[in-house]
Amino acid sequence: MNPVNYLYLSALLFTIGAAGVLIRRNAIVLFMCVELMLNACNLAFVTFSRMHGNLDGQIIAFFTMVVAAAEVVVGLAIIVTVFRSRHSASVDDASLMKL
């Protein structure tokens, strides 16, 4: 199968993730959409790695996974703290600083 198709899939996943961040209102769902974007990047890296015949892209995919895991640790900690103090994970409720 032509590897370019995987690139189209990756771009599609990235767009779904980006649209999700912009449309959805729950912080956890937003965060899942960001993870979807990161995984779309991974797919692109691996596909390009296959096209170019070098391993850089596959190694970068591992780095991305580790970074994503670290981001989950920090992100969930922050979101859970906010949820405990507000009893809501909606990003629309976080508006104390609006002018």
Binding site: L7, S10, F14, G17, A18, V21, A27, L30, F31, V34, M37, L38, A40, C41, A44, F45, T47, F48, M51, H52, G53, N54, D56, G57, I60, F63, T64, V67, A70, E71, V74, G75, A77, I78, I79, T81, V82, R84, S85, R86, V91, A94, S95, L96, M97
Partner: protein
């Protein structure tokens, strides 16, 4: 069967000739600044794990200050060893550049961090809780604001000494960020300095809901932007088949030696290059806080604990501009005619947008946030110059601006009322009559922001605008001067408010700081005046440092 045989072949060939894989060669001496800071951060984590609570504050402060000072000494050592000029090189198997701009920015970041650590350690501003001195950070960040667990933690005198290792980790990432010489290192460094900052934003002692809100906004938008950066990296990798800066630049310039069929296919595809470059730029412009990627700045600056805001405003900007310069000057100089018009647009809307919106602000931290956006625009004008003068003027501006910012936010921590810091501008009315010294110091910082002669702000703005004009961006300079004038209006307005209006009876008081914050503010004032009165030595220094290694 045949499949198993090939797998077996893989193992045997690898074990027969192990010499085929070259062992990596790391220049520990040249990477010393980063390694010292990250090592000290790990020591800080161990201190949190092993020392009893009452000893942690002193131990953490000692480790942080010694590590930052040692790392700065290492930077000076490298600079004295000509690594900034003639011996500039790429270390760590092509991952990290050791050259003039990298060393200059690393030195700036380390000094800024050292001063910021002083403000983090300040324990005399908040009234003592149950006989324990407290700093700006929550007693127990995990406890629900106003809940029983929080009251118990306050009563027990807990403090969040974890802030010191967090700052050190952030500084470690910031040291790598402007020196990164491939896109993977760039991405990892971005995350290494961003993640601790997200946590630091959530740790304020007062106004904890506001602080947590700032953290969640910063985190979600920061993760969103770094995903864009990563996809841009993927596209550039697809375009060039490599993530090293020099390799991508060679492919962009069409100077690559052996072109494989796959590379021949992808390097003809400009969509990969243009979209990839734009997405990486987007990620960096977000960290810089340039319009239209600035939405997070005012909220995060307002909500975060003020020492963290000062550190973030100063050090993040230095690191991110360093990375932006290297990306534009080393990786994408071949695309100059494509990115220059875009950056022109970004610089113009950033300068005007930041200055105009700042006029309507009523909170001093938000005011400084919008002023930082306007300053990002001024620095972008120097970035666009694409001349050696452009690089050195940006380096100088960053050094000058970061100390002014740090000093200004340190002054904000001093003005307090019963609810903590009094950041609403109306409460600052008549401050000059009540405490002339603090108001005068703040006025010096505001004049430096406005770019009045004899302050560092003027020297920096002059250098940047001169470089931009010489680089053929005259129109940009005109817009820059106009937005400086708009910005000067609201800086002067604050000075007038402080000195020429009647103090309110229920107004805030000015806390007497410990020597730590006093030192931070004094360093800010001294740097502002020295760089303003005698900038030539430092301009020369930045001029010598203004060549990227490739």
């Amino acid at each position: 069967m045949s499949h198993a045989a090939t797998v077996h072949m893989l193992w045997t060939t690898a074990s027969v000739s192990p010499d085929k894989i070259p062992s990596p060669d790391i220049e520990y001496g040249q990477l010393a600044p980063t390694l010292i800071v990250l090592g000290a951060a790990i020591v800080g984590v161990l201190i949190e794990a092993l020392l009893p609570r009452r000893h942690r504050y002193a131990a953490q402060l000692f480790v942080s200050v010694v590590a930052l000072a040692a790392a700065f000494a290492a930077v000076l050592g490298l600079a004295a060893g000509d690594y900034g000029t003639t011996k500039a090189r790429i270390a760590a198997m092509g991952a990290i550049a050791v050259d003039g701009p990298a060393l200059f920015l690393e030195g700036t970041i380390l000094l800024v961090a050292l001063v910021a650590v002083f403000t983090f350690a300040e324990r005399r501003l908040d009234p003592a809780a149950h006989g324990n001195r407290v700093d700006s950070f929550a007693a127990q960040p995990a406890a629900v604001p106003g809940g029983e667990a929080e009251q118990a933690a306050v009563k027990a005198g807990f403090t969040t000494t974890e802030v010191f290792p967090l700052v050190l980790f952030a500084v470690g990432g910031m040291l790598v960020f402007p020196a990164a010489n491939d896109l993977l290192t760039l991405f990892v460094a971005l995350e290494v300095f961003s993640l601790p900052l997200y946590v630091l934003c959530a740790l304020a002692r007062r106004h904890r809901m506001l602080s947590q809100e700032a953290a969640v906004k910063y985190f979600l938008l920061g993760a969103f932007s770094s995903a864009f950066l990563l996809f841009g990296i993927a596209l550039l990798y697809g375009y060039a088949g490599t993530v090293t800066y020099a390799g991508i630049a060679d492919v962009v310039d069409g100077q690559v030696g052996d072109i494989t069929p796959a590379l021949a296919g992808t390097m003809g595809n400009d969509a990969l290059l243009l979209i990839g470059g734009a997405m990486v730029l987007m990620g960096l412009l977000f960290k810089i806080g340039a319009v239209p990627f600035h939405m997070w700045t005012p909220d995060v600056y307002q909500g975060a604990p003020t020492p963290v805001t000062g550190f973030m405003a100063a050090a993040t900007k230095v690191a991110a501009f360093g990375a932006l310069l290297r990306l534009l000057y080393v990786v994408l100089p071949g695309l100059r005619w494509d990115w220059r018009p875009v950056m022109w647009g970004v610089a113009i809307v950033t300068m005007l947008g930041g200055a105009i919106v700042a006029v309507t602000q009523t909170d001093v931290k938000r005011l400084l946030a919008y002023s930082s956006i306007a300053h990002a625009g001024f620095i972008l004008a120097g970035v666009i110059a694409t001349t050696p003068d452009g690089i050195s003027s940006v380096l100088f501006y960053l050094a000058a601006y970061s100390f002014v910012t740090l000093g200004a936010f340190s002054v904000v921590t001093l003005v307090r009322d019963a609810g903590g810091e009094a950041t609403h501008l109306s409460k600052w009315a008549g401050l000059g009559r009540r405490s002339p010294l603090v108001a005068a110091v703040f006025a010096v910082f505001l004049l430096a922001f406005a770019g009045i002669p004899l302050t560092s702000g003027f020297a920096g703005k002059f250098a940047v605008f001169k470089a931009a004009a010489d680089g053929g961006a005259g129109a940009l300079v005109v817009i820059g001067v106009i937005s400086s004038a708009i910005a000067a209006f609201f800086y002067i307005r604050v000075i007038v408010l402080m000195f020429f209006s009647e103090p309110r009876t229920e107004g805030p008081s000015v806390a007497v700081p410990s020597p730590l914050t006093s030192a931070a503010i004094a360093i800010g004032v001294v740097v502002t005046i020295v760089l303003g009165v005698a900038p030539q030595y430092f301009l020369d220094l930045a001029g010598q440092a203004g060549v990227f290694v490739r």
